[in-house]
C-alpha cells in the first residue's frame, strides 16, 4: 500500500527480523555477520530463546562470573559473545532486541557507547512512557532502581550494534548459576541478584512490548520485514562468527585455576 510506505520517505531503511525461540547462539551468529558484512540497518527481535543459556561478554572470565560447579553439574551451556558487557542467563522468558546500524543511520549520533546508549534509551522511553519509572541507569534499563534489561555493544569502523536482553520473566533458580560480579554498577549497591533485578511482565504484556518497540523504531526508520530464509543465501558461508560455546574442558580448567 503506497500511503503508509510513502509517509516514511526520507527515513533510513531498516530491515526487521522477528524470531520466536531462536537459539541465542544462532542469533549472535546472525548479528555478528550482519554487523561485519552487511551495509544495511537491521533490527532483530527474538521472543525468547530455547534452553536456559549463560551468555558472557567477550572478556568474561567464567571463574569470576559463574558458579562453575553448578554449571557443569547441570550442563548449562555457556556462550562467550562477540560484544562487551556483562553476564546474563537467558531462556524462554528473555526478549531480545538488537539494533545494527550504519554510523550515519541516526542523524547526529556519535558512534560511541554513551551516545548510542542514550539514543536507545530514548527509543525505549517511548515504549515505556508512563510505565514504571523507566530510565537508563548507568548501562542498564531499570524500572526505579531495578534492572530489567542489560545492554551490550560493538562499534566497528563504519557500523555499530546495540543489543539488549530484556527480563520479561526469569527463573529464580537460574540466577543461582551467576556469581555476584566484581565489576558492578554503583547503583546496584551490593544487592543480591533477586533484589537487583525485576520482571518486565509485572509492567507490560510481552506482545505489547515488542509491538511498541517496533512502533517506536518506525518513527525513526522505514521498517522492512525480512524473513531469515530470504537472506540465508546472502549470509556468507565463509564468515566465522566469534561467539561460541565454551567447552566443558575450558570450564573445568577455569574451575581448577580458581581453586589453585
Amino acid at each position: 500500500m503506497l500511503v503508509p510506505q510513502t509517509k516514511n520517505i526520507g527515513l533510513p531503511l531498516m530491515n526487521l527480523m522477528r524470531f520466536k525461540g531462536l537459539p541465542i547462539l544462532q542469533q549472535l551468529h546472525i548479528e555478528e555477520q550482519l554487523l561485519r558484512t552487511s551495509s544495511e540497518n537491521w533490527c532483530i527481535v527474538n521472543d525468547g530463546t530455547n534452553d536456559p543459556t549463560v551468555v558472557m561478554g567477550v572478556l568474561g572470565k567464567p571463574a569470576e562470573l559463574l558458579e562453575i560447579e553448578s554449571v557443569l553439574d547441570d550442563q548449562v551451556p555457556v556462550i562467550r559473545r562477540f560484544t562487551g558487557g556483562g553476564t546474563v542467563i537467558v531462556d524462554h522468558g528473555t526478549v531480545f532486541v538488537t539494533f545494527i546500524c550504519n554510523k550515519e543511520a541516526v542523524p547526529n549520533l556519535q558512534p560511541y557507547p554513551r551516545p548510542i546508549m542514550s539514543w536507545s534509551s530514548s527509543l525505549y522511553s517511548k515504549v515505556f512512557q508512563g510505565i514504571g519509572d523507566f530510565h537508563l541507569r548507568e548501562n542498564d534499563y531499570v524500572f526505579g532502581n531495578h534492572k530489567f534489561g542489560g545492554n551490550a555493544q560493538s562499534i566497528t569502523k563504519n557500523r555499530w550494534i546495540h543489543h539488549t536482553s530484556f527480563l520479561w520473566d526469569f527463573n529464580v533458580q537460574n540466577m543461582s548459576y551467576l556469581k555476584h560480579p566484581k565489576r558492578a554498577p554503583a547503583y546496584r549497591s551490593a544487592r543480591s541478584h533477586l533484589d537487583f533485578i525485576c520482571r518486565m511482565k509485572d509492567y507490560m504484556p510481552r506482545s505489547t512490548f515488542m509491538d511498541k518497540t517496533v512502533e517506536a523504531t518506525e518513527t525513526q526508520f522505514s521498517l522492512r520485514p525480512i524473513q531469515l530464509e530470504a537472506i540465508r543465501t546472502c549470509l556468507e558461508a565463509e564468515f566465522c562468527p566469534s561467539s561460541r560455546f565454551l567447552t566443558n574442558e575450558e570450564l573445568e580448567a577455569a574451575a581448577v585455576a580458581l581453586q589453585s
Binding site: 520517505i9 572478556l59 562487551g84 542523524p107 547526529n108 551490550a152 555493544q153 518513527t219 525513526q220
Partner: protein, 498 residues
C-alpha cells in the same frame, strides 16, 4: 533556476535552530557587508537577492573524531609517531585490549582498523589516523590501556605532517563547540583565526581574546587590526551573521571566510547528513517520476488590493496578512473542480487515490534545509483561519518544533520561492503527491491592454510541476486557469462562500 523541496520527517536533532525567511513575497533585505559572509551559511544561498543561484554547498560536517587534539604533538622528528588510544567517546577512562588486527611491520592505510578494545559494555574498533608502517606494538591483548596512552608507534612519512594539520582544520568545522581548542602557541584560537592573524601580520598572542576562556575570536583579530591601523574597513563581525543562523559555530564562518582572505582554496569534503541526506534520497526517487512543467503568468493587482484591504481592516493585532493565504484558498477552490491534481499515485496497483482533504504544503527554507509543513483541510478553512494556521506553522518552524503530523499527509505543495527571488523555477514533485507549484516573485511588468495602451501590472510567474503518469497538459492547464481566475478576480471566491 531549480527549485528544491524536501519531505522532512522527524529526524534526530539536538535542538538545532531553524530560521525562516519572511513569508512575504518581497526579497530579504541585506546589506553589502553581509554578502561576504553568506557563502558560508546555508541561508546564504537563499538570501542573496541578486544571485539566483542555489549553491547549497553547506559546510555541514559530521563530527569526525578520528583525530585527537594531540595529533600535532605526536610527531617526533624522525617520522615515528605515537598513536594513543582515542575514539572511545566521553567518560571512558580505560579499556582492555581485545585483539590486534595488525602486527609489527605491517603497512597500514588511513582509517584501517588497528585493534579492538573493550570498555564497559562496548567493544570498539580503533582505526588508524595515519598511513604508514607499524613500528612497534606496545600492548598485548588483555592489557588495560588508559585513554590517551600510546597503543603503538607508527612510521609515517614526513609529508603527512600537513595532513595532520588539515585534520585539525577539519575538526574545526564541526558544530561541536567543545573540542575546538588549539593549545599550541599559548593562546586559545582556531587555525582559521590564526591564519587570519598571520595574513594581517599580527602576532595572535598580542590580541585580547573575548571568547570563552579568553579564546581569540575572528572579530578580536579584526578589531585589533583596525586599532593598529592595519585594515581600514572592519568586516561585519560574526555577531551579525549569527543573527541569521545560529546553527553553525562562528569559527566555521571565519574558517571559510579566512580561507578566501588568505587564498587557501582547498577542497572541502562535505558528507551529506540529516536533511541533506534525506534530500538526496527523496530527490533520487522523485527524479524517476516523469515530470512536465506548465508555466503561466498571473496578474496580482487584485490580490495586492485585497491584501491591503485585509491589512487596513485588520481587527487582530499581531496578525500579518500576506499573499499566501488567498493563494492557498483559491488553490483549494481550483482543486475542488480538478480533484485529480490533489491525488496520490500508487505505482504497484496503478491506481490514483483522489485525496478528499486539501492538505496544502508550504515549502519553508530553514538553515537546515527545506521543510514542508502542510495546512490540513484547507477546503474547510476560511482565509482568516488559513492565515493563522500558516503563522502557527511558521513559528513552529522557527522554533524547530514542527510535529510529524505537521509535515506529513500533504496532498499538494506550494513553493513560494519568489520570497527569496527568481522569476520561476522547475519544481520537482513532492512524492507521493502529483503536483507542485513554484511561484516566482511578483514583478511590475508592462502589459498591453486591448486598446493597445501599455500599462503596468504586477505579474507573478508560476510553474506547475506535474507527474505525467497521472496528469496531462490539458488537466493542468484547465486547473491553472481556474486558479488564475480566482486570483485575478478574488471576488469570485464569494460565489462559493457558505
Amino acid at each position: 533556476m531549480l527549485c528544491r523541496r524536501i519531505l522532512l520527517k522527524k529526524v534526530w536533532n539536538n535542538g538545532r535552530r531553524w530560521l525562516l525567511p519572511s513569508s512575504s513575497l518581497s526579497p530579504v533585505p541585506t546589506t553589502a557587508d553581509y554578502k561576504r559572509h553568506f557563502s558560508t551559511h546555508i541561508m546564504a544561498a537563499f538570501s542573496l537577492p541578486q544571485n539566483n543561484q542555489f549553491t547549497l554547498k553547506i559546510p555541514y560536517m559530521e563530527n569526525r573524531c578520528k583525530f585527537s587534539s594531540n595529533a600535532v604533538a605526536d610527531l617526533h622528528t624522525n617520522g615515528i609517531v605515537d598513536v594513543p588510544l582515542a575514539q572511545t567517546g566521553e567518560g571512558i577512562a580505560e579499556c582492555e585490549l581485545l585483539k590486534w588486527f595488525i602486527q609489527e611491520g605491517d603497512e597500514v592505510e588511513e582509517f584501517q582498523p588497528l585493534c579492538e578494545v573493550q570498555s564497559d559494555k562496548a567493544t570498539i574498533e580503533i582505526t588508524s589516523r595515519y598511513k604508514g608502517r607499524v613500528a612497534q606494538v606496545l600492548h598485548v591483548p588483555g592489557n588495560i590501556v588508559k585513554v590517551g596512552e600510546t597503543l603503538l608507534k607508527m612510521a609515517v612519512e614526513d609529508t603527512q605532517v600537513p595532513l595532520v594539520t588539515l585534520s585539525n582544520l577539519e575538526n574545526e568545522k564541526q558544530p561541536d563547540t567543545k573540542s575546538n581548542k588549539d593549545f599550541t602557541g599559548g593562546v586559545l584560537s582556531t587555525p582559521a583565526v590564526r591564519n587570519l592573524a598571520k595574513e594581517h601580520g599580527i602576532n595572535i598572542n598580542d590580541v585580547q581574546g573575548s571568547g570563552k576562556d579568553g579564546r581569540v575570536l575572528k572579530e578580536d583579530v579584526l578589531k585589533y587590526a583596525t586599532q593598529e591601523g592595519i585594515i581600514k574597513d572592519p568586516l561585519v563581525t560574526a555577531t551579525a551573521t549569527a543573527d541569521l543562523g545560529q546553527l553553525f559555530h562562528r569559527e566555521k564562518s571565519s574558517l571559510l571566510e579566512s580561507a578566501q582572505v588568505s587564498g587557501h582554496y582547498e577542497d572541502t569534503i562535505v558528507p551529506l547528513r540529516g536533511f541533506q541526506r534525506t534530500m538526496v534520497k527523496t530527490m533520487s526517487m522523485a527524479a524517476k517520476v516523469p515530470h512536465f512543467h506548465y508555466v503561466e503568468e498571473i496578474d496580482c493587482d487584485a490580490l495586492a488590493e485585497l491584501k491591503a484591504s485585509f491589512q487596513t481592516n485588520n481587527l487582530e493585532p499581531g496578525l500579518k496578512f500576506t499573499f499566501l493565504p488567498v493563494l492557498i484558498k483559491s488553490l483549494s477552490m481550483a482543486l475542488s473542480k480538478y480533484p485529480m491534481v490533489n491525488s496520490c499515485f500508487n505505482e504497484e496497483s496503478v491506481e490514483v487515490i483522489l485525496r478528499g482533504s486539501h492538505n496544502i504544503g508550504i515549502a519553508m527554507a530553514t538553515p537546515n534545509g527545506l521543510v514542508v509543513p502542510n495546512i490540513k483541510n484547507v477546503q474547510s478553512l476560511s482565509i482568516l483561519e488559513i492565515t493563522k494556521e500558516l503563522s502557527r506553522l511558521q513559528q513552529l518552524s522557527l522554533d524547530n518544533k514542527l510535529s510529524p503530523a505537521d509535515i506529513s499527509g500533504g496532498t499538494i505543495t506550494l513553493s513560494n520561492i519568489g520570497a527569496i527571488g527568481g522569476k520561476f523555477g522547475a519544481p520537482i514533485v513532492n512524492l507521493p503527491e502529483v503536483a507542485i507549484i513554484a511561484m516566482g516573485r511578483i514583478q511590475k511588468l508592462p502589459r498591453v491592454a486591448d486598446d493597445g495602451d501599455v500599462y503596468s501590472a504586477s505579474i507573478m510567474t508560476v510553474n506547475i510541476g506535474a507527474d505525467h503518469r497521472v496528469l496531462d497538459g490539458a488537466i493542468v492547464a484547465r486547473f491553472c486557469n481556474e486558479w488564475k481566475r480566482f486570483i485575478e478576480k478574488p471576488e469570485l471566491l464569494m460565489l462559493h462562500m457558505k
